[in-house]
Symmetry: C2
Subunit: 373 residues, 2 copies
């Protein structure tokens, strides 16, 4: 990487030592910094994202604007929950990791968001999910054809936003984004096929989550650097950080999906149990062996046959959650989040980059594993 | 364009004068040449296309192989109808137009075929079409989720096949393919919205057909040249040929959709009338005015309300077809095919290229307007 430097050059007050501690050690000490990073990602990327979506022909522009939460189902301006915006924040830091200005990462941030939302539109339809971010999903409001069509359009737009830069770097960035998109699709194919299976191994679950969550976070962390002129080795190492950050993120998501506070997550209690998701805590508990694991296995198999979750009491879900915990699934998943967090932090230690950027990437990693939503 | 030449250099016996004649003048004089060109496209592109599709993870590889007609619904090897393969033939000629070997156009041919088939998979699902190439469509056999997922995968694969060339030319080719894909999506959005409208103007119909058919044929004719190093001006002019060739192709398709011989087309009699398609002959007849046009308008409006085409007799369809013809819709569409054919031929007259290649592009244009299927 030709333009980066291994020392901080702007006299920031953030720690200059790379963090290798676990989330538990860190707590939320860097919360203010992380909030500012997420805010910066939103502020720089959203106008460009909106301008890109505005290029879509009607009615696709309206359908997309609904999906992003910019308008409601009646077309009135809305201030919807656009998500945590971790990916845009990462894409901007990624550019800075290569010694470029954060703005260099903006087309990458926008392209990654477009691909992410393409996959949400299609996955919600394939999975029959009726709610996302507290609102009816696009296929539910505008019909399946619009969900397919607008998803396709966002995917095409992602390539367009990058390739119109008309640089060698943009071609390389698009290639990485394409690889990540293929992984996303592979992950969704695995997710669908696992639904029909009684047992899924921990390794299969991790591979699926790596494809569905890790690959695009990895791309977010490399794409700004690639646009800023980073070489492939640097980009690969940044992707390693992003991939394991994604796995840590997903492990925490899987914990919140069972034990999360509905007030914070905005989801129902026992959300993933209701959806019968074969998430990490479940899969790990089933693989653990022992009395609780066996009882859980028998219960879940009977549940799958009976298929009447809508009539379940809170106590019935609580019993299953308790069995998962007793079999060690909760603890294993929390340890897995910490393990992936550590691998992510180790990866960025080996890349030459400004120390401020390294510290901010570490703070984002900490945020991801301690978050409550 | 640095490597092309305005004179044939290989002593071929094909005409060295560019053809500006209409299809009617030409007849099928170059049929043997065209058959060889289509065959060459298939021979060079299909193995690379199959290798690309083989990269998909199961079960997507199998679903895609079924879609392409390489296996049947039970997974047995099959020798399905892969279509006329005009696009691969054009992509190879495109490379030669830039003075490159036809093989240089192969990744472009494969990428264009992947995008074409991505759109077929999604369009068939959106439109509820149950049959394609005499076989059940993918969503009918493998379910809607697989049709969405494999379509997405083919789109991603198209970018992958180009970008892994890792050249500046590949980046430019991908940018053109992305633009064509956006047009395809726009065309499908128009097609869907027109279904709900009673009247569509001739201009709207041509715009929709230009997006759905013209844009990707245009890309097929420029992509090989771009990969072979052609400049943007050359690529744009080649695209003009391809775009108007696509409109000529679609006008002929629209004629065959009503008056085609089922033995040749493999479709039902009055196929487009049964599907109530607002194709060019219908739209032109409705726009023409006069007694036949007005009677047709009243009939089609009543048909749309009654919605019982499955009970229609052959005579009822024949009556509507006769009205379209009487109002001038058939003649107008045939003239439009010739007009677009002429514009296409004029476009390639202004590009410097080997005369053999120019003659072969002209022969392909002639083939497209005189074909019976």
């Amino acid at each position: 990487m030709s333009t980066s430097t291994t020392t901080g050059t702007r006299g920031e007050t953030v720690p200059t030592e790379p963090s290798a501690a676990t989330a538990a050690d860190h707590g939320q000490g860097d919360a203010a910094d992380v909030t500012a990073l997420l805010e910066r990602g939103r502020t720089l990327a959203t106008p460009v994202l909106r301008a890109a979506v505005d290029r879509l022909a009607p009615p696709m522009d309206t359908v997309a604007a609904y999906h992003f939460g910019w308008i409601d189902a009646e077309g009135r301006p809305s201030d919807g929950d656009g998500g945590k915006a971790v990916r845009p924040a990462l894409a901007l830091l990624s550019a800075e990791a290569a010694g470029a200005a954060p703005e260099v990462g903006v087309p990458g941030a926008v392209a990654v968001e477009l691909v992410h939302n393409f996959s949400l539109l299609h996955d919600d339809l394939m999975d029959g999910d009726e709610q996302r971010r507290h609102r009816d999903t696009v296929w539910k409001v505008h019909g399946p054809a619009q969900a397919i069509l607008v998803g396709d359009a966002l995917f095409a737009l992602a390539n367009e936003v990058l390739l119109e830069l008309d640089t060698v770097e943009a071609g390389r960035a698009t290639r990485r984004l394409t690889a990540a998109t293929r992984a996303l699709i592979d992950g969704q194919a695995q997710d669908i096929s696992y639904e029909h299976r009684e047992r899924v191994t921990v390794e299969e679950c991790l591979e699926m989550e790596g494809n569905k969550t890790g690959a695009l976070l990895a791309c977010a962390v490399s794409i700004g650097a690639v646009l800023g002129g980073a070489d492939d080795e640097t980009a690969d190492t940044l992707e390693k950080y992003g991939y394991h950050l994604g796995l840590a993120f997903q492990a925490v998501d899987d914990l919140l999906g069972i034990w999360g506070d509905p007030e914070s997550t905005g989801k129902q209690t026992w959300s993933d149990l209701r959806q019968r998701k074969k998430s990490l805590p479940v899969v790990a508990a089933l693989a653990a062996g022992g009395p609780a694991s066996e009882e859980l296995g028998q219960l879940l198999a009977a549940d799958a046959k009976a298929n009447d979750f809508e009539n379940f009491s809170e106590a019935e879900f609580a019993h299953r959650a308790a069995l998962i915990e007793k079999a060690g699934g909760r603890e294993w998943t929390a340890a897995e989040a910490r393990r992936q967090h550590t691998i992510a932090l180790q990866a960025i230690e080996s890349v030459a980059m400004p120390e401020r950027v390294r510290a901010q990437l570490a703070a984002l990693a900490d945020f991801v594993v301690v978050r409550k939503r």
